[in-house]
């Protein structure tokens, strides 16, 4: 599944992956720049405003009716953070018109619709978004942020993320206390700024380059097709573990622990680190699953997750409060086992099989294909899928143990259920 770089008539580049594997076509324009923490909340709000309507489809009702006319196509504008980068994407996914035989649903109509999102619905002075739209989106956005508190797992995760206290350990969905101060004008200025960012346009589907190039060239929007590269914002170790707790009205408690490793995507121990995470807590054969859940029955849900751009690992477990200390001890004990090379041949083999299978399946999803291609562009030393699998095959128990020895525990957060049952 390969992308070709295609030149449009007006001399810009886009990346095309021509395939008849999918019944859909996906067009994704991703505007990338270095993230600024003080813009995160406004960026998230901006994505809601742009998703809501635009100059051509002035209400969300009208816009969604158009998507339905386009056979339930979807258009998603989203703001994400990846390491030290802010990714602001406009993504259209719709069924390939060849299945529809509908003169109102053609590639030209799709491109016109897609480009309508770059001309938002403004006020009469054209210096702000439509006030009503801005107010509705701001209100909904505030509510979404307030409701994060209702999900104990997400709440615990965000707490650990905040406690990392690093320049780039940022909540992608923004911060509640910043929402009220965001003005309409500020949001609109941010929109204009985004359009000046380096752009990475991707198209996937059973489509030929020539007609797309022509259609894109006629859009008359001067995007910048420059390149940018990522830096990986490593989180440093801390000399001692900090413990935090909080009580909330839940019937089950959550235990969350964060670890730092300084191992990020371009590190020599990157692939051992991926295997370590699978062996520790990201599989049904993981040490945490088999001990904390299967052997001791302390929880139903326990897992670890590795952030390959900051080098952190989070472990989360939904437990009864009475198992707090026992679960904590078991988590630390299992990690120590890995440090001491107590990894069975079976565990390493299973982890390798699982990781290899996961990498092989990247080409089965248009969104993952785009995200992996983007990784290759942003981190030029990234390995191809084939080379990555070759690297994984060579990894030994000692490599994984070496990665584990680079791990330091940072914070432990316990969200305690209000009343024990």
């Amino acid at each position: 599944m390969e992308f070709k770089t295609i030149k449009t008539e007006d001399d810009n580049n886009y990346y095309l992956c021509k395939t008849n594997k999918f019944k859909t076509i996906t067009i994704s324009y991703i505007f990338i720049d270095k993230i600024q923490k003080n813009e995160v909340t406004a960026l998230a709000l901006l994505s809601l405003i742009l998703n809501y309507c635009n100059e051509k489809y002035k209400s969300t009702q009208e816009l969604n009716a158009k998507l339905e006319t386009f056979y339930n196509s979807s258009m998603r504008i989203s703001s994400q953070i990846s390491g030290d980068l802010s990714l602001f994407s406009f993504t259209f996914t719709g069924i390939n018109p060849k299945f529809c035989n509908d003169k109102n649903y053609t590639l030209l109509e799709i491109i016109k619709f897609f480009y309508s999102f770059f001309t938002p619905f403004l006020n009469s002075l054209e210096d702000e978004f439509n006030e009503k739209v801005f107010t509705i989106c701001k209100e909904n956005y505030s509510n979404e942020l307030v409701q994060l508190e209702e999900d104990k797992e997400l709440f615990t995760y965000l707490k650990l993320l905040d406690l990392l206290n690093h320049e780039y350990s940022i909540r992608g969905m923004g911060y509640l206390d910043e929402v009220k101060n965001i003005t309409n004008k500020q949001c609109y200025q941010l929109f204009l700024k985004i359009l000046k960012r380096p752009l990475f346009p991707f198209i996937i589907g059973d489509l030929n380059a020539t007609p797309i190039s022509k259609l894109i060239s006629k859009r008359n929007i001067n995007f910048k097709f420059n390149k940018i590269y990522a830096d990986l914002p490593i989180v440093s170790h801390q000399s001692h573990v900090e413990f935090y707790d909080e009580k909330k009205d839940f019937s089950q408690s959550m235990l969350g622990i964060s670890f730092t490793s300084k191992i990020v995507k371009n590190d020599a121990l990157y692939y051992p680190m991926l295997l370590l995470n699978i062996i520790l807590g990201d599989s049904s054969f993981s040490k945490l699953f088999l001990t904390v859940r299967e052997r001791y029955g302390y929880c139903y849900n326990i897992y670890s997750s590795y952030d390959n751009r900051m080098g952190t690992i989070f472990v989360l477990a939904g437990i009864d409060a009475k198992y707090q200390h026992k679960t904590y001890d078991l988590i630390i004990e299992q990690l120590e086992h890995i440090c001491r090379s107590r990894i069975t041949t079976k565990e390493l083999k299973f982890a390798k099989l699982r990781l290899t299978s996961e990498i092989n399946s990247y080409v089965d999803s248009p969104s993952i294909i785009i995200s992996k291609e983007l990784d290759n562009i942003l981190l030029p030393n990234s390995l191809s899928l084939k080379d990555a699998i070759g690297e994984i095959k060579k990894i030994t128990v000692e490599d994984v143990a070496e990665a584990a020895r680079r791990i330091h525990i940072k914070d432990c957060f316990f969200l305690e259920q209000q009343e024990e049952k």
Partner: protein, 430 residues
């Protein structure tokens, strides 16, 4: 093996019924790297209360038993099932729902070996009292995890307002009491009854050669002996058409009130799978016409600050139950409830024009075609359709056959029926 070509969507489906009664569906998608396989039984939480025989005595199935078997079946005497899948590079999982329990895996190689393993572990159930006791704690933690979700409480609270006796109102996993009272004897008896190949389906979708795969499945199944199939006793529930309670309020850790509005309807009547599938789509299209984002009310209510952007709706239908559920996070709960009540008093008065109906039909067709992008979605959807006795691959034709007139008739038919409301509140609006 019967091969069915669906030229409109460029898909081929191979179907075969084995001598032991197991139905096998194979959908080759050779461009994809991964293959998804589901092995499912028609046994879910709705079967609780049924009597099964363990060979000696009759046992009443307690709540959550199907889910309990799903947990314990992985404890196979040949060793941990998950490990054996992992050794083949696959990840295996399972879920239980109202009318089914499904076991599934995905992999990019070793497909035959994985299918064999899937068939072998699901078709063997040796459970020990000690392991049952330990599993109870894990299942109780799982139930508690879901009970911390506002959506679970909102939904179960509403179903308890709507239904007097029907087990649809119970959590799929049962109550903590059900779990604590579960015995080895009940688990074994239910397994014997419901895990017969006649009561099961195997669906394979991905990079496969259908003939080779089927041959291996036949080889595997021909080596096993199953007791004669007694069938599943038909079950009906004596459920009145009125509701238990018209209104309830639950205190919960929510920042905004959450409202669930449910309309209780008479169960659907139909003659065949196509007719039934069409009826389900009629309901879906009707609800889309009124409540979708492109409908008249969603944006109006947003602008009036009655709701947040959280309006959701569904048609909940199955064995002896049929209801419509509307949920939202609300700023003005009384106004929201009043508006929804008015709509359901005379639904046909609130229907938009025929051109909107044509648009929604297009959207439904689009959703179906998009679902064919993913072998895992195809396999899951086919299992769900089979269990619900709906048609799947002829979805496009069925949707195309629906007329606006049929929608108007349905709107009239569901108007002025008993309804109930459940509210979750953090207390701010009280």
């Amino acid at each position: 093996m019967k091969k069915m070509e669906y030229s409109l969507i460029e898909e081929t489906v191979c179907k075969h019924k084995l001598e032991n009664g197991l139905e096998v569906y194979i959908i080759p998608k050779n461009d994809f790297t991964k293959t998804t396989v589901y092995f499912a039984t028609k046994f879910g939480s709705l079967h609780s209360g049924l009597k099964v025989n363990d060979g000696k005595e009759e046992i009443i199935i307690p709540g959550g038993l199907a889910h309990f078997i799903e947990h314990r079946i992985f404890d196979n005497k040949k060793g941990p099932v998950m490990d054996r899948f992992s050794a083949l590079g696959a990840s295996c999982n399972a879920y239980t729902s109202y009318n089914r329990t499904a076991y599934h895996f995905k992999n990019d190689h070793n497909i035959n070996a994985c299918i064999e393993l899937l068939l072998d572990f699901v078709q063997e159930f040796t459970v020990k009292a000690e392991s049952v006791e330990k599993e109870k704690d894990i299942i109780i933690e799982e139930l508690r995890m879901y009970l911390d979700y506002p959506s679970t409480n909102l939904y179960l609270g509403l179903l308890n307002n709507l239904y007097f006796h029907h087990p649809i109102k119970e959590d799929v996993g049962g109550s903590e009491k059900d779990v604590k009272e579960t015995t080895c004897k009940a688990l074994k008896a239910a397994y014997r009854q419901f895990y017969h190949p006649e009561n099961m389906i195997l669906v394979i979708c991905g990079k496969v050669n259908p003939d080779l795969i089927l041959k291996n499945i036949i080889d595997n199944q021909s080596q096993k002996v199953f007791p004669p199939y007694d069938g599943i006793p038909d079950f009906t529930f004596e459920e009145p058409l009125n509701v238990v309670k018209e209104f309830s309020v639950q205190k919960f850790h929510v920042s905004l009130d959450k409202v669930a509005f449910g309309v209780k309807l008479a169960p659907l009547v139909y003659n065949n799978v196509i007719e039934y599938t069409k009826q389900c789509y009629l309901y879906e299209i009707l609800l889309d016409l009124i409540f979708s984002i492109s409908g008249k009310y969603y944006e109006e209510w947003l602008k009036m600050q009655i709701i947040t952007n959280s309006l959701a709706y569904s048609h909940l239908e199955g064995k002896n139950y049929n209801s419509i559920i509307i949920t939202a996070d609300v700023y003005k709960r009384d106004i929201f409830i009043e508006y929804i009540s008015k709509i359901f008093k005379a639904v046909d008065n609130y229907l938009p024009k025929e051109e909107d109906f044509t648009r929604i039909k297009k959207a439904k067709i689009g959703s179906f075609i998009k679902s064919l992008n993913h072998p895992s979605v195809i396999a899951r959807e086919l299992v769900e359709a089979y269990m619900d006795e709906r048609e799947y691959f002829e979805t496009m034709e069925i949707i195309q056959s629906i007329t606006y007139h049929e929608i108007i008739n349905l709107a009239k038919q569901i108007s002025d029926k008993p309804f109930s409301v459940n509210v979750l509140t953090g207390g701010k609006n009280d």
